[in-house]
Structures are given as C-alpha cells and as structure tokens.
Symmetry: C2
Subunit: 469 residues, 2 copies
C-alpha cells in the first residue's frame, strides 16, 4: 500500500520543483538581456547555472527512478528524460529553456558551464571505470577475452560501415558547408568506430544486479569490454585523425594511421609503465601529507592531468582519464591517513556530475530529425549491426562448456561509450544532427534490450546446464 | 628522519606537475586562436579547464599543507598561494596563464567555467556550514550569543565605516566610469558590512584543533558566529540594495531598506518554517526512492534551488544555500536506504570544489595595487577595525566567570565570509581592485592572527582559572 502511494507523492514534489523552475525560468537562463544582468550585478552569474542544474538533476533522478522500477538501467532513464526535456519545445514553443545547450557552438555562458560540468562528469566516469579494472586483471583475462574483444570490434565496425554506406549516400549539407572537401567515407568510418565500444559500466551493472558477477562468462565479458574500450579508443583516435587530416585537405597517409595508433598505444603503455613504477612511489610520498582531502584530490589530479595530456597528445580526454584510473589501484591508497576508500570518496563526485552528462546528451537529441525516414532507417540498421556484430563475439569464446549466447548478449550495450563517441563526432564535424540522433537511438535500443535478454539467456542456461552435466 | 624528507620529495612532484602544466600551458588556456581550435575540434573545450583545475588544485593542496604545518588554517595557504599564482605575471610577464580570470567581465570560456566552479564551491561551503548548525541549536544559544553577535556586527560596521571614510576620500575612477552618480558613502557602507561577518568555519576548526569545542566559550562563539552570519547576510542584502538603487540614480528610501530587510528575514523565516514543516515530509517521500545517490542529489537540489530562489528574491545566492543547510538536518536522512551519512557524501564534493574558490580569490588579488600606499593604509586600518570591533564582543558576554578575551578573539577571523562579501562587492561594482586587495589583506591578517592568539589566550585562562576557583 505504501509503495503504491510513493511514486505519486514524490512525483508531485518533482512536478512542484519543475514548475517552480519553469516559472522562474522566465528570468533565469533565458535572460533576454545578459548585458543588463551583468551590469546590474544583482543577478549572480551562477544563478542560471544553479537553475539549470536543478532541472537537470531532478530530471535525471526522476528518469533514473522510473527506469529502475521498470527493471532497466538508470542511465537509460536519464537519457530518455533528457530527450523529453530537450524536445519540450516541440510541444510548447514558448519554453526553449535548454535551447542554448543544443547548438553546436555554445555562446550562452551558463550553457557553456553546464557543458563543461557534463564533460568533467564523463571524464570522471571513465576514470571510475578505469579504477574498477586493473592492469593485473587485464593480464589475467585469458585468450577468450582478447578474442571476444577483437571480434567484437571488427564485426561491428564492418557492419556499421556497411550500414552507414547503405543509408548515407551523400555528405550532409551542414558538414559540406563547413568543409567542401569532406569525404563521405569518413562518416562511414566514424559510425563504424561508434559501434565498436562496449559499455563496461552497463554490462557490469546488469550482471551485478542478476548476481552473476563471479561467473566465468561475466569475467570474459568484463575483460573483453575493457579491451574493447581500449581498442575502441584507439580506433576513435585513428578515425579522428583521418577526419582532421581530411579537413585540412591533405589525405591521411598510412604512415599517419600508424603514427596515431602508435601515439595512442604509446600513451597507454607509457601510462601503464608509469603506473607500475613511479605512481606507487609518488602516492607513498603524498600519503604522509596532512592536509584535508589529499587522497581524493591527488586521485582527481591524476585524472585531470592524464586527461589533459591525452588531449594534448591528440587523443580523446577520456582515454587519459581511463588510463589514469587503470594505473591507480585502491591498494596505493592504503597508506593515506584517511579512513575512507578512494571509491567512497569518488562516488559522491560522480553521483553529482555523471547524470548531467547523460541528460545533456538526451537534450541534444533533436526529435524532429526522426521525421526524416532515412534517420529512422539508419537508426534501425545501426541497431541491427550493433546487435549482430556483438553476437558474433560469442563464437570467439575458446573455453568449452560456456554460455556463448550470454557472452554475446553481454557485449551488446553501447551505453555511455557510444554516446561519448557520438558527441566527439559532433565536435569533429563528422556527425550532423540526423546521424547523432540515429546513434543515440542505437544506443538506447542496444542498452534497452540487454537487461531483459541477458536475464532470459542466463536463466535458460541455468536450466540447461544441469541436464548437460 | 622520514618526516624531514617528505616535504622535499612531495614538493618535487608538485614542481614536476606544475612545470608540465606550465609548459603545456602554451597550448592550453592561453590558446591564442579559440576559433580555430573550435573548428578543428581536436582540442576538447574541456582541456583548458582540466589544465586550470590541475594547477589550481595542486596550488591549493601545496598551500594548505604548508600552512597546516605552520599551525595555520589550510584556507590561508590556499588564499596566499592563489595570490602568488595570480601575480607570477609580475615576475615573468610571459606567463599570464590566469589573466583571463582576473578581469571583471570574464570573456574566455574556460575562465568562466572555473569561475562558475568556484561559485558552486562557495555555495556548497555555506550549505555545509548551514548543515553543521541547526534551528534548534540556534534557539538554544542563550542571550550571550545574541548579544555577542549584535555587538560583533555593530562595532565592526561602525569602525569599518570610519576607517573607510578616513582613507577613501573620493570614488575610484573605475567605479565612477561605470556610474557617474555613484555616492562615496556606498563604499563605506559596503566595507563596514564586510567587517561584520565572522568565519564560523575557521573559528570552529581552530577550537576543534585545540580540543576546546565543548567549552561554554566555544558554544557562545559558535552560536554568535552563526547569528553573525545571518545578520551579516541581511546587512549585505541591504547594502547591495542601497548600491543597486544608487546605480539606477534613484536614492534608496527608508521604506526600501525595510523592504530588503523584510525580504531577507522573510526568506530565512520562510525557509525555517518550511524546513520544520514540509521538508521532513518531502524527504520521507524521497527516502523510499531506489535510484542511486538520491540522498546526496536531493540535498544538492535543496541547496541549488534555495540558492537560486534567494538570488531571485534579491538576496545573495549563499544566503539561500545557508538557509537550505540550516533547515536540513542529518536526522532527516536516517530513513534513506544508503548507509552513509549525508556529511560523508557531501564532503568529497566540497573537498573538490571549495579550494577552487579560495585559490581563485587569491588569484584575483592584484599585488601591484599594494604599491599604492593608501591601499596599505586602508588594509591596516581595516585590520585594526576588524580586530578591535570584535574584541568589544567579549564585553557583551552576560554569563559570569567566562573567558571574555577568548570569546572576543574567537570572533576575529573573517575568513571565507569576508572574501565572499568582497567578491560580491566586486560584482556590484562598489569594490575596485585596490579596495578588494585591502579587504583580502584584512581577511588574511585577521585569519592569520587568530590561531596563535586564541591558543595563547586559552592557555592563559587555563592557568588562571584554578587560582580563582
């Protein structure tokens, strides 16, 4: 009885908050005269950011709650509620609160601040994922993980390229306007790359929710997802290099591809070597410092510095954040005076910032692009390519007597990594609104289908195994 | 032996980080061609923010560590290292990394993002301070606290006004250029207001470090500091109102002062009433939600929403954050499913964001203004006024047999609240670079002198009391 009343009352509160925010929104972010606001000085520049944060976080939590109750990952709810929030303008043209966040070149300062908070959020998420996996763990994962990951990169890339080539016959005018020499195949390459990555976060969460985290299948999938991430990030670096090279008009030579792969691999190998040799010693020195919060801050510093250096080296900032997480181990922090675990300190920061990324991603989806049948076609083709591409993975499992179907299904969700790729593609000018929307649909579909299918497949295996044994 | 080696090695690491950051800074925030960077897309817009965060956080922690080792509060180290960081340009004109942060109207986007992060940091700090005190606690603090607080607001205000009137004989040209009708007395009022607030954070920290948090003197000081904060915030609201009124050319009427005080008091009283009646019920509803991190997020939502509403009501955003903290009690969160205390969840977020505010405050101090002898004179006069103004407080203690000297000394540090007032004054256009620098010196002096003086005074009382008893 109590349960049935809850959603109603909490929803009421949320509606109250949102209504207050919308009403006040009139003199909030949609400030028509920023000049005046600045000179009057009475409107604190942080005020529109606070309002936007309030709306974004309410939206994230309502969406997350609703989807968790439906047995789906919270991240999906954040994404879909973001889509709703961003597209309310379609229903009520007066309320384009988040309009400034939906342009390719953000000019409103508050929208820029939210964008940066979202980006810091995703960097911290990849750092957290990196922290969850260790170099030692990656070495332990056997041949199966590596093969599964390799197949799980090649097959979706090929299928994604093929799907893109089938549906996208000409360079979108927006991209052509920015760069007349743009080659169509760049889009296919980029879409192929977007289909490679597996979302280790979502897979791990689903397996954990089902109590299957300690099975051999789970370990193969998680190992493969990590290797997938690394491969995906390298492919992303190469794809970005090819596109930037194309933009400058000089076609990318093979030597260049080798160079980018080399830089990416070199960065990761370098980070791992530093991680195994220098980092423990540095942390031992820092551990004796007395100042408050030094454990969290030194972890954040590693994350930010590596993310910055990765970007300076021509890689995505998230590659650096992931590498920083990979080389930092909980064990390095045992000598700190603080009683908490690093994980417990980092979680509140990511709890605050990560949902912002997903809601903003949702906001940037333009539902009107779906009216274009070719977008829907592309989205469908990408979803099929993403699904089949990862199913092939199951065949790559070399160990015998394992649940290949579940391994393949575990690799399906694209989640945050796919979204990150899409947003980077937008930044590179290789992904227009239509393609972005299609990728987001693919991410939603693959993420949405995994939990129920995996649940079913694991239960089926459970029933079959005793008969076989 | 081990101890003596530590600062050396950790300093080495820090220097290494800073050098890397500075070298890379060439293609970091100081990006000469943002247009090109945006279109090339290779430079992630978050990259300069990451670099700036790295430098700011290293600076904060090195400064904090050094000052804690010297027996001073860490916040002072953050501030002073910020001053050094911001003024390195005086030594090496090539390195004006943080220049974009030092202008009144920030145009560089990365600097704006850092500014917003700092502002969110100070809002969360005031929220945390509010959380530490409760409505019930404020009612319990007797007549002494209220009298000490009242005297501690009136005396410094009067002395500050007098010091300002002595040293500032004409409206600075920068302010006059913005507003030809600017009245000189606005500056005196604002400086007077700046001297009112006691930094409850620093006082509490010092008393805690000395193991005196449970003495009656400590309770009076902490109670008075909270009441001081509220009074200071109301004075700030009135002063800001007077200044905005002056800017519009219409002199402020007494009715207006009453109105602003009414709005400020009404907001606080309204917040308290809501806090005692509605909030526990709302939190009870939210507590049953399943989604991850709902406890922290609902606390943050209260903070952000109240800060926004305070600003919309014409008050400073920090007033709202403080009110939100005041009405939220740890006990409201006991029904949440999470095992952690709210305090443990909030601390990591403030650990990350609060130091940014103090370092940025330090960065905005222009050391070259100190070459102006009148700035130094003003700084000295303000420091004396701040010190004497709060010493008078001790006389207001009605209870007998208490250490009045220690009560007065406990009220001296201005810390973060003084800095917050100064930054608001800058935003209002009533504080120019010279006055800002003088206020920051006053804050540094009062904060720096408190720990050793209080230590000495409490020890003296300890020796005398047994003789009297």
């Amino acid at each position: 009885m109590a349960i049935s009343r809850i959603p109603q009352t909490s929803l009421l509160f949320v509606l109250l908050l949102l209504t207050a925010a919308m009403v006040l929104g009139g003199f909030g972010p949609a400030q028509p005269d920023p000049e005046h606001a600045a000179s009057a000085g009475h409107q604190d520049p942080v005020a529109p950011v606070l309002l936007a944060l309030t709306v974004l976080l309410v939206c994230a939590k309502v969406g997350g709650e609703l989807f968790e109750r439906l047995g789906q990952p919270a991240v999906l709810g954040e994404l879909i509620f973001g889509v709703i929030l961003g597209n309310l303008v379609l229903v009520n043209l007066q309320w384009d609160f988040f309009g400034p966040l939906r342009t390719d070149h953000i000019t409103e300062q508050w929208a820029y601040a939210i964008d940066i908070l979202a980006r810091i959020g995703v960097i911290l998420l990849l750092f957290e994922v990196g922290l969850e996996s260790s170099v030692a763990e990656m070495r332990k994962v056997g041949a199966s993980s590596f093969l599964v990951a390799t197949v799980g990169v090649i097959a979706p890339f090929a299928l994604g390229y093929f799907a893109s080539a089938t549906f996208i016959k000409e360079v979108p005018p927006v991209i052509l306007a920015m760069n007349a020499n743009f080659d169509l195949s760049n889009i296919h390459i980029f879409i192929g790359a977007t289909l490679c990555a597996t979302s280790v976060g979502i897979t791990a969460r689903v397996l954990k929710d089902l109590g299957k985290l300690q099975t051999k299948e789970a370990k193969i999938v998680l190992g493969a997802a990590v290797i997938d991430d690394v491969m995906g990030l390298i492919i992303l670096a190469v794809a970005a290099g090819i596109i930037v090279a194309a933009e400058t008009g000089v076609p990318m030579e093979f030597a260049e591809v080798v160079k980018i792969t080399g830089v990416a691999l070199g960065f990761l190998v370098g980070a791992i070597v530093i991680g195994l040799t220098v980092v423990p010693r540095i942390l031992k020195k820092i551990a004796v410092l007395r100042t408050h919060g030094i454990m969290l801050i030194s972890a954040l510093l590693f994350c930010f510095l590596f993310a910055y250096l990765a970007n300076a080296a021509g890689l995505a900032a998230i590659v650096g954040a992931f590498a920083a997480g990979l080389i930092l181990e909980e064990v390095h922090f045992t000598e700190f005076r603080e009683e908490k675990h690093l994980h417990d300190l980092l979680t509140p920061v990511t709890t605050f910032l990560v949902p912002i990324f997903f809601v903003v991603m949702g906001i940037q989806v333009r539902l009107e692009t779906f009216l274009n049948p070719s977008v829907l076609g592309l989205a469908l083709a990408l979803s099929v390519a993403a699904f089949i591409g990862k199913q092939v993975c199951g065949l790559a499992v070399v160990d015998k007597g394992l649940d290949r179907l579940s391994v393949g299904l575990g690799m399906v969700p694209r989640g945050e990594v796919g979204l990150i790729f899409a947003s980077i593609g937008k930044g590179l000018g290789v992904v227009d609104d239509a393609i972005f929307s299609a990728i987001v649909i693919m991410v939603i579909v693959t993420t949405l289908m995994t939990p129920p299918l995996l649940k079913f497949s694991l239960a089926r295996w459970e029933r079959r195994r005793p008969a076989e044994a």
